[in-house]
Subunit: 173 residues, 2 copies
């Protein structure tokens, strides 16, 4: 009795995210909300790669990434490549790139930072979080308001905008 083959259907129309840093695919799925897709998705974690030793890869049917999702991926995996698939063919291939300024996506956890003060904005509009990217790899970013520096393992992403989550996500982990 040999091991059942996992049939990996090719993507008809959708996205392949390749060259993800090994071990980051599941974090990327959760952070971008792609984990809630109702369509076919195949994920390889710690896959052997000639270039990088190990890498992760995500193939997802029926989804094209938006700018915010691309930025989040660039923060976690600056070497990732994105391929857009249509009719089983790659119609566009691009690399992610970390913006020089990261807006809104990441939270400054310094309580005394002006970005966390409602009064600071005159009680009208809250100030958006904003960070300058000092170094891409390994990531080092700095809050433009309080100058606090964060490394990749210290950052806190802003919570997802979704108000309603599917049943399976409601199971509190």
């Amino acid at each position: 009795m040999s091991e059942d083959k996992l049939k990996i259907d090719r993507i008809h129309k959708g996205t392949v995210i390749d060259h993800i840093d090994a071990g980051y695919a599941l974090t990327i799925l959760s952070l971008t909300g792609l984990d809630e897709s109702p369509d076919l998705m195949t994920i390889g974690v710690n896959v052997y790669s000639k270039k990088h030793g190990k890498k992760d890869i995500i193939k997802i049917e029926g989804v094209f990434l938006n700018e915010i999702q691309m930025q989040k991926i660039s923060i976690l995996s600056p070497n990732a490549s994105i391929s857009l698939i249509d009719n089983y063919k790659v119609i566009e291939k691009k690399r992610v790139s970390i913006p020089r300024i990261i807006k809104k996506l990441i939270v400054c956890v310094n309580k005394t930072c002006i970005s966390n003060s409602e009064l600071a904005s005159g009680g009208r509009e809250p100030i958006d979080y904003e960070f300058t990217v000092l170094e891409e790899r390994p990531l080092k970013i700095q809050c433009v308001y309080c100058d606090r520096i964060y490394k990749l393992d210290e950052i806190t992403f802003a919570s997802k905008e979704k108000t309603e989550k599917k049943l399976k996500q409601k199971i509190q982990l």
Copy 2:
């Protein structure tokens, strides 16, 4: 230019979790701690299945599940099957089964429940959470102490025992 093939290496020695309810694979990985495995892992989400319409499947190298992981999977996907692989061959195949009593894994969130009172145990040992399984599918469980009934989307799993988490998990989502 055709779509890059995702090479799915066969599992040499490890575990295949098949017939997972569609959309639950990623929750299972997180809940069982399998998401931290440093070895090859391939995951199919919403894969077409003759029997169930859609299903998820996880193949994971170098890992055999323990009893607690099997119980967690049975709660989330009572139809899941587990195949143990050695030398590329299935050496054992089993179905998960929900225990009649679930101990420790799930938390009763009723604050007035005796299982949440330290005094109730005479200040010596805390009482372990314990639930009777009333119905398997859809899941319905009842706290043996306060009789509160929970459905699948209402349950809270006890937090993982791990004290130290890897870098990628420290990124707060």
